[in-house]
Symmetry: C2
Subunit: 400 residues, 2 copies
């Protein structure tokens, strides 16, 4: 039965290159350790090295003790939805929502997957570089005809090119703050993108996974605060509350028809999100005193890491790096350090391999679309300060 | 933007009729209470009125305390997979599996949904009556061309008809013990079905959600104990361990290619199953002393309920009812009590409405396919003994 051809959508899903990279690193680790007596420096991970705050864990335990272990309400528990609506007002300055505008999902992942699926086989677009999971998972799974709109070298937007592509699309995918660049799109940029979508009757899928991780006094601007009904925002508790393994998030839109379809899709796929986890999520969103303190603490640490990594990279001749205002990634350009004569395929992996040989694990730019082959993504979400310094020294050695 | 036509697969999903029925009952409740001073008797639910056993809740809390809150391993935690492999040997007498044969899913629901999706737009088949979620959710979501093979009046199999349909299908869906009949397919029946599938190169999707809920000394036989690689069994902890709201289950096959595709699908849809829930599931499957005691206690209670419901229904002239050996449903035939002159559509709802007017909530047979319109599903999963007696009296009044 091994020759049977299953559904193209599932057959087309690719393994995340980041998983392969982590496996390659694991294979290389013993040889590197024997040679240097040191561990690898891991800059490839999306995991966070903070624990889930205790008040959220306690809320989960309380819900378990109260027997919140029966089937969840389809679309999400009312108490969680009410907490989401208050949070949208409190944090996103987005008003005018009722329970019918909200659906609870397994992280941001399920919200995005279902949205891409809503546009099965249609044309979509998003900025390049683009989160690898969109390209490797959602696009093949929903058989999207996906166009990449490249950001400029300084990660600003070419609005003419954007409009040219949006005009032809059913939806546009925006991720702000962005993986892999750490770019926080400004309020002005978000409004112009949303207006372009509105003008051309295009849906805007807004992935706001990193909304609370912003630096230097900058604040995330959610398109959801605009009064358009073509916008669907996808949120997750994974990053904000160090809850990556809890798998809980929510999608919100003024368009109730879309929320209803997401609810049906969520029910069909999973019969709803784990009941007591929803009560923990409710506590995370509602307990402002605790969550503001947690977010502040985490952001201060992330900001310190960003600063050292940015300064370190800037000090290495030949590396061009933009200062990000959000998320926990840097996406430097190593183009000047790659030999000119290499083939495109060798070029894509050249810096990645140089770094790996020197004990630094990174993700090569080709994982994020077709326009940024000379770049490397470095994540500092789980890399303490001293390890970052060691990493910088190794990068220096690797490229000199 | 409200005229936009989204993906047919999601647009085609129907609301579970059982949800509408529960809502209709809720609307009727005040009027019924005013008239009679009594509550409705609820026979429509799939929920279980046992709490999750304490040793499983404790395992979840322990996992939370140990910080098992990071991203799950794609496909499932090794410790859970190892527990599944041991359980397959201990309970299902199915041997020869390794971690690559197992994938962890959000309940049985996600396993089944992904399997239907694997056969997107292809021909599938299953026995009628058939679990409503297959017909209302999985079939439209995967755009399956689904054929129903009716069981006989006594719920035995017409193997000639079965072979005629299987020959033409890509997969066959088997649910044993079965929702809505409570039929436990015998070892001989399961083997003959599996052999027919094997003979015609057809995949067998085996839904074993109720595997531990069996009565009168009968045991569930899993096709997974056969050595065919065309069989995929889907399990959930929902019913066995009163864990409906936890959303955890697993799929197993000797065919590693299918398990790999399920893993990719699960990752794409949800990024994997909540990490600490997997550790609770591991404890549920591994702690035989506790789980055997829990299952015995639950089955004794279910058996008592089945007996009263069966005896009560049998005592009412005009109702034909088969004695089920598993799950927690009865599916009596009210055909002789329905006026002959009714149109098909009125016929479908006649008994359901008679019962509802008399304060009994049930699910009408048309929810389970096209062949059993005169039947009614009564679930006793959340209906205590004294309420069942009250229900029987009301049914008696309703049809006399």
């Amino acid at each position: 039965m091994n020759s049977f051809r299953f559904d193209d959508a599932i057959e087309g899903i690719r393994m995340s290159p980041i998983v392969s990279i982590s496996e390659e690193a694991k294979h290389k680790e013993p040889e590197f350790f024997n040679r240097t007596g040191k561990k690898m420096v891991l800059f490839q991970r999306g995991e966070i090295d903070f624990p889930t705050p205790k008040y959220i864990v306690d809320a989960a335990m309380m819900a378990l003790e109260l027997g919140k272990t029966k089937y969840p309400k389809s679309g999400g528990e009312d108490e969680l939805k009410d907490a989401v609506i208050k949070k949208l007002s409190y944090f996103n300055r987005a008003e005018g929502f009722s329970r019918d505008n909200v659906v609870c999902t397994y992280g941001g992942q399920e919200g995005l997957e279902l949205l891409f699926k809503l546009f099965q086989c249609k044309k979509g677009a998003g900025f390049a570089p683009c989160w690898s999971c969109v390209l490797e998972n959602f696009v093949p799974y929903a058989q999207t005809d996906f166009a990449e709109v490249p950001l400029r070298e300084d990660f600003t937007i070419d609005f003419d090119e954007l409009e040219r592509i949006i005009r032809d699309s059913s939806f546009f995918y925006l991720n702000t703050p962005q993986n892999p660049t750490g770019k926080l799109f400004t309020e002005d940029e978000v409004i112009r993108i949303a207006e372009l979508c509105h003008k051309h009757g295009v849906f805007l899928i807004s992935d706001e996974a990193y909304e609370t991780i912003t630096f230097d006094g900058h604040r995330h601007f959610s398109p959801l605060s605009l009064k358009f009904d073509n916008i669907i925002s996808v949120f997750t508790l994974s990053k904000t509350y160090s809850m990556t393994g809890w798998r809980v998030g929510y999608a919100v839109s003024r368009n109730k028809r879309i929320i209803e379809l997401l609810r049906l899709g969520n029910y069909t796929q999973t019969a709803g999100v784990t009941t007591f986890v929803q009560y923990a999520a409710k506590e995370a969103l509602s307990n402002h005193a605790e969550s503001d303190r947690h977010i502040k603490l985490m952001n201060e640490e992330f900001c310190r890491r960003r600063d050292s990594l940015y300064e370190g990279l800037s000090s290495i001749p030949g590396i061009k790096v933009n200062m990000p205002s959000g998320a926990f990634y840097l996406f430097p350009d190593f183009g000047d350090l790659i030999p000119q004569k290499l083939s495109l395929n060798d070029r894509k992996l050249y810096i990645y391999h140089r770094l790996l040989d020197n004990g630094v694990v990174s993700v090569y730019g080709a994982c994020f679309g077709k326009f940024f082959n000379d770049h490397i993504r470095l994540s500092y979400s789980a890399t303490p300060h001293d390890v970052i310094e060691e990493g910088i020294n190794r990068i220096k050695n690797a490229v000199q």
